[in-house]
């Protein structure tokens, strides 16, 4: 367990020390929040859906967690060639512990990042409907972080070079984000789109965050929690398996 803890701590330390990176990674969600939040706000209000800023803020938090956690996993590709990871692969420690430490660290960092975005959202005018529900939001943040840190680890373990990175970005990460209901409500959509959004694990994360923060949910909180727990477990097993097969 010491090893898992040390590797987890390494991820968190690295994150807290990289101030420019933290500030940089706030910029993109902030752009979505402000430009879309205020830009589409009037249209959204006219269609009788209420405040778009309130609606989009949980989505933007989810987005930040998605990007941070999946990149921490894919960063493995770099880490195993030029970074510290290779050093851990020749240490007398089972691979599973290394993978767990690194992935849990990635999920933790993503949750911290999500919390930071939530604070930024509140500065911009977002108000959770009840303070008591905020701890539940943290549970969802951590779950979303685990799902995508696990997936990222699986991808980072299998990718051979940096070219694959663009492919993953355009054909996996962006669709996951756009189909998750982060930006629009998931009801009354065309059937094909409905199916796609239902297959996207982030949909349940965003819906859970919305349920916790603004008391509005599409699938129900039990459903959200169960889907996320199952998918997170699945991706962690997949990530551990892929990681155990890394050859340098």
């Amino acid at each position: 367990m010491t090893v898992v803890y040390y590797l987890w701590l390494r991820e968190v330390k690295r994150y807290l020390r990289s101030r420019p990176q933290i500030i940089g990674s706030i910029a993109q969600p902030l752009l979505y929040l402000l430009v879309l939040g205020f830009g589409l706000g009037p249209v959204f209000a006219q269609s009788g859906q209420g405040s778009y800023l309130q609606f989009i803020a949980p989505g933007v938090v989810g987005m930040a967690i998605l990007f941070t956690s999946i990149f921490s996993g894919i960063g493995l590709l770099w880490d195993r060639q030029f970074g510290f990871l290779k050093e851990t692969l020749v240490a007398p420690v089972p691979r599973l512990q290394i993978m767990l430490g690194r992935t849990l660290g990635g999920a933790t960092v993503a949750s911290i990042q999500g919390t930071l975005i939530l604070i930024v959202c509140m500065i911009a005018g977002f108000r959770p409907y009840s303070i008591a529900a905020v701890p539940l939001a943290f549970v969802f943040m951590l779950l979303v972080g685990l799902v995508f840190a696990g997936l990222g680890t699986a991808i980072g373990s299998t990718l051979k070079d940096m070219q694959g990175f663009q492919l993953i970005m355009n054909f996996l990460v962006m669709p996951i984000f756009f189909l998750s209901g982060a930006l629009f409500p998931l009801n009354n959509l065309p059937t094909a789109l409905t199916l796609a959004t239902r297959a996207d694990p982030l949909s349940y994360g965003i819906d859970g965050l919305r349920g916790a923060l603004i008391g509005l949910t599409q699938f129900g909180m039990i459903m959200n929690l169960s889907v996320l727990v199952v998918v997170a477990s699945g991706f962690l097993v997949l990530g551990a398996w892929a990681f155990s097969r890394i050859q340098i």
């Binding site: 090893v3 030029f82 510290f84 050093e87 940096m162």
Partner: protein, 261 residues
């Protein structure tokens, strides 16, 4: 200390290592010389449990890296061709993390870190981030780290690549000193003939996955009738230039160079 018999590794059609055998005695410094793509790094990767051999057998301090990887790993330290430090952590944190990974008890760890960092003239910089270190300092730190868990064998895969003559000289002085005082067995690969000649007790020359000659530097020169080790090397491996295909790691290495400067 190291025993290798008929070791083979194939990648698809390519035979990277083709039936090599050699022995390294305890306390010996053994050098692997060979052109690019000769199979040096692949051999090290198999010995250090990072690659599985296609066939053949190996023993490290009596342990089989294939069937007993965890025990075998605690017996060696390694400095890779590519950097493997966490540059966002301090020198001390890198050492401490290594100690935790190798289950070095906390009390011993602190003392041993101080001894090694002092020896490698890095103790004063222990609290600095590794990203502020020069190439030579990083290499020294990697060697110090590799020795933290008192391994029986130290693997050095082209440790002096990209270092200036001063740093190279200093690095080998340290390695020789450790070999003499702690009796650690050293297995190294290098491109620099003079380094191999000066540091190693015995040298093996590897080409196209085969060991073409092995022995002491004088005996290699005698075998080939060459004046220098470089002459012997060229006599044994020919003078054609090896155009390796650039693999994924090379491409990433190029990218790393771009990002760093």
């Amino acid at each position: 200390m190291i025993h290798v018999e008929n070791l083979v590794k194939t990648f698809g059609e390519v035979k990277a290592v083709d039936g090599i055998s050699f022995d390294v005695a305890p306390g010996e410094i053994f050098a692997f010389l060979g052109p690019n793509g000769a199979g040096k790094t692949t051999t090290i990767q198999m010995l250090t449990t990072l690659q599985r051999p296609t066939s053949g057998s190996m023993k490290l301090d009596g342990l089989d890296p294939v069937t007993q990887p965890l025990q075998a790993r605690s017996r060696f330290g390694i400095v890779f061709q590519d950097p493997s430090l966490d540059v966002e952590l301090t020198a001390y944190e890198n050492m401490d993390l290594h100690g935790a990974l190798y289950h070095v008890p906390r009390k011993v760890r602190g003392e041993r870190i101080q001894t090694l960092l002092t020896l490698f003239e890095l103790w004063d910089r222990r609290a600095s981030f590794v990203k502020t270190f020069s190439g030579g300092m990083k290499r020294r730190l990697e060697i110090a780290r590799g020795l933290l868990h008192t391994p029986r064998i130290l693997f050095l895969d082209e440790p002096t690549l990209g270092l200036d003559p001063q740093s190279r000289n200093q690095l080998w002085t340290h390695v020789k000193h450790l070999n003499e005082t702690e009796g650690v067995t050293v297995f190294l690969t290098t491109h620099y003939m003079d380094e191999a000649e000066r540091t190693a007790h015995r040298i093996a020359i590897i080409d196209h996955g085969h060991i073409v000659a092995q022995g002491t530097a004088p005996s290699l020169k005698q075998q080939t009738g060459a004046e220098s080790l470089e002459g012997a090397f060229l006599a044994l491996t020919g003078s054609t230039i090896r155009d390796e295909r650039a693999d994924a790691a090379d491409q990433m290495r190029q990218m790393a160079r771009m990002w760093r400067r």
